[in-house]
């Protein structure tokens, strides 16, 4: 078996690979500091959703999902529970469906079936998925009020919501008093 000849790779390739490998361990040790890309969208009810405006009220949880993803259907009732628990305390939850035109017509029935009350945006052109580098669904992205991504959960295993709750609690206690009415706030 011959060896992979990485030494023959282009110098730019070698430099980029080396940067990725060298940066990875260092970054993993540090606290989250990736800024969330700004976005403006319209939800399925026709309401404008702008990240900067939402962050003015408190932390934001973005949940990327799709109708064809089975783990999403299991995780979303947990996201709804988080929405109901933390929305009065300032958290805004936004569901972002990455469904393309093939499944667009199934988004609203899916939301109705699961009884979701937080706002749902359909990312029809894939721009949000691109900006947040979403590589799989479900992916939950938690953003603090300064616009920094503090946690990203890719995939879902039962119980993952506990760590997400802890992270939200930490943010809520940091920003107590910032609560305000947001889109899709649950009716108690």
């Amino acid at each position: 078996m011959s060896l992979i000849r990485l030494r023959r790779a282009h110098p730019v390739a070698r430099a980029l690979l080396a940067a990725a490998v060298l940066c990875a361990p260092a970054a993993s040790l540090g606290a989250g500091s990736t800024p969330a890309p700004a976005f403006r969208a319209v939800d399925e009810e026709g309401r404008a959703i702008e990240l900067a405006e939402l962050l003015g009220r408190g932390p934001v949880l973005l949940d990327f999902w799709s109708t064809w993803c089975k783990p999403c259907a299991i995780a979303m009732p947990e996201i709804e529970a988080i929405h109901r628990e933390f929305s009065p305390k300032g958290l805004t939850v936004v569901g972002i469906s990455i469904d393309g035109p093939r499944n667009h017509a199934k988004v609203r029935p899916f939301v109705a079936r699961l009884g979701l009350t937080y706002p749902i945006v359909v990312d029809a052109d894939g721009s949000l998925q691109q900006r947040f580098q979403v590589r799989a669904v479900p992916t939950a992205v938690l953003i603090d009020t300064s616009g920094v991504i503090v946690r990203t959960n890719q995939g879902y295993r039962p119980g993952d919501e506990d760590a997400l709750r802890d992270a939200i609690r930490a943010l809520i206690s940091d920003t107590s008093g910032a609560a305000g009415a947001g889109p899709g706030e649950p009716a108690e």
Partner: protein
């Protein structure tokens, strides 16, 4: 060299646009995939293949810029490449935005144009042993404006078919060909209504390869009428190719006229959800579009592998789905899809009747289970009859620990020959840590027969066994390891189907994001 120079120029331009002292940072995601093994019955059986994709994004207050570097190398030293495959810079301010470089967008519901990529998918080019991330992007420029009463979207650039690896270019496969221009104008007179028009034109040299346009309306008559607690959003789009505006207005739908007609409607009332869609496509495989296929996208492995692939060249059909949630108990879904097409030998039909039960869909439950049944036919690929059924259950047996059992079976007839498939999966998961699982498949499908036993009169069943481990190493690093043998065939992700090669060996994937 020219692409690399343009990438650097874009990055420099983006950096110069960033406000001095403003919040800006680089985000990095990396996907490393290493295989040791090969397609079963191929030599060498211990081929080593390394694929890496690195995405660098520089974010600043009013936009971002980035590039993607991909490389694929293998122990045979064939069809290797290492190059920057994507680069872009985008800016947005209020309702205005622009992007140059590799871009993605959609016009209407994709009848006339859709550019996209498949998240997390690494493919091997059919006919070439070269791996890449499939992307149907446009390399050019895009601008969009959104106002209270509507929006305008414009694009121009060279489209990528997404079917070829960068290494394929050395073998004569052209990834970016032709020049595409297009746009969309939308008027939003009230919140629950939109009316719009789209246009696209693909040319190469002096000749026009296609020119297509559509008009669409989207509205919810019940919401407009002030109804509460019930809604019925409707969508209608009609597209024509190589037609003047007066031709388009005639609304012709005969098979000899290049057209695409798509209608979709929902009815939502509390826990009841209905969706009904209708399609009528003729001569509408533009290569740069993606009309809705109206075929359910299934998650279970056997159903997913048997997904019908749309032929927009000539296909007509419908999809009707109803879902009902039973509070505290669960939910039910029924779906009926049908597509009619025509081959030289005569008419062909795909039909599927599907039912699914899921319980209980609520937070904090200590178990969940689902069961499905599907029956139908797909004469487009010679399947005369097919029954598929299965069930999956997850039990949380300690804090953070869960076990999932997934069982599926298919009994089918292809061109008069019976065969069956059985699938069993068992996964043990620990939240925040990862999971360990095993998958076993058995099939006597003649198309999967061991070539060394092909002369036998009877079909020898084949067995596929694989072990899968997934580990969350840190918040920013995830690893997965597959060891064993997995079937190839069709797979569908995010509404798009593609062919996956079978594999026997070990595969390690490391994903990093920071």
């Amino acid at each position: 060299m020219r692409r690399r120079a343009r990438a650097l120029a874009l990055l420099v331009a983006a950096l110069s646009l960033a406000p001095a002292g403003g919040a800006a940072q680089i985000a990095v995601t990396n996907l490393l995939d290493v295989q040791n093994g090969n397609v079963p019955f191929s030599e060498p059986s211990d081929r080593v293949d390394l694929y890496n994709r690195l995405d660098l994004d520089y974010r600043f207050a009013s936009g971002q810029a980035g590039l993607r570097f991909e490389t694929n190398r293998n122990s045979e030293d064939e069809l290797t490449y290492a190059e920057i495959t994507h680069r872009y810079a985008e800016w947005s301010d209020g309702g205005l935005g622009a992007r140059v470089g590799n871009l993605y967008t959609i016009l209407g519901r994709g009848l006339v144009h859709r550019s996209f990529e498949l998240p997390g998918v690494v493919l091997e080019q059919v006919g070439l042993r070269s791996r890449y991330s499939p992307s149907r992007d446009v390399d050019g420029a895009f601008a969009e404006g959104r106002w209270r009463l509507g929006s305008l979207r414009l694009l121009a650039g060279r489209p990528n078919s997404g079917e070829f690896s960068p290494a394929g270019e050395e073998a004569g496969f052209v990834r970016y060909s032709g020049f595409l221009t297009g746009g969309q104008a939308v008027l939003t007179p009230v919140r629950q209504a939109k009316i719009g028009a789209t246009y696209s034109r693909l040319s190469d040299g002096g000749s026009v390869l296609h020119e297509a346009g559509s008009g669409f309306v989207e509205f919810d008559p019940l919401r407009i009428a002030g109804a509460r607690g019930v809604s019925a959003p409707l969508y209608l789009e009609y597209a024509r190719r190589e037609a003047s505006f007066s031709d388009w207005w005639r609304f012709e739908t005969d098979d000899g006229t290049g057209h695409a007609l798509y209608l979709a409607g929902n009815f939502l009332w509390g826990p009841l959800g209905l969706s009904a869609e209708w399609k009528d496509y003729a001569d509408f495989r533009l290569g740069t579009n993606d009309p809705p296929s109206l075929v359910r996208e299934h998650a279970p492995a056997l159903l997913n592998r048997n997904t019908h692939v749309l032929n927009a060249g000539l296909e007509e059909g419908h999809q009707i789905e109803a879902s009902l949630a039973f509070p505290r108990w669960g939910s039910a879904i029924v779906n009926w899809s049908r597509s009619d097409g025509r081959f030289a030998s005569g008419p062909v039909r795909f039909e599927e009747r599907y039912a699914e039960l899921h319980t209980p869909p609520r937070a904090g439950a200590h178990w969940e289970a689902s069961a499905f049944f599907a029956e139908g036919e797909d004469e487009f690929v010679g399947i005369d009859e097919r029954d598929l059924y299965g069930a999956a259950a997850t039990v949380i047996f300690a804090k953070g620990y869960s076990v999932t059992l997934d069982a599926q079976r298919q009994e089918a007839t292809r061109l008069g020959q019976d065969f069956d498939d059985t699938y069993l999966g068992l996964t043990l998961a620990r939240s925040e840590w990862g999971s360990a699982g095993a998958v076993w498949e058995r099939t006597n499908d003649p198309e999967q027969e061991d070539p060394e036993k092909a002369d036998d009169a009877a079909i020898d069943p084949r067995h596929f066994f694989g072990a899968i481990f997934q580990v969350r190493l840190t918040e920013r690093h995830e690893a997965s390891l597959f060891y064993g043998e997995r079937r190839g065939g069709r797979a569908c992700t995010a509404g798009t189907c593609y062919e996956v090669l079978p594999f026997k060996g070990a595969e390690l994937r490391l994903m990093t994001a920071f």
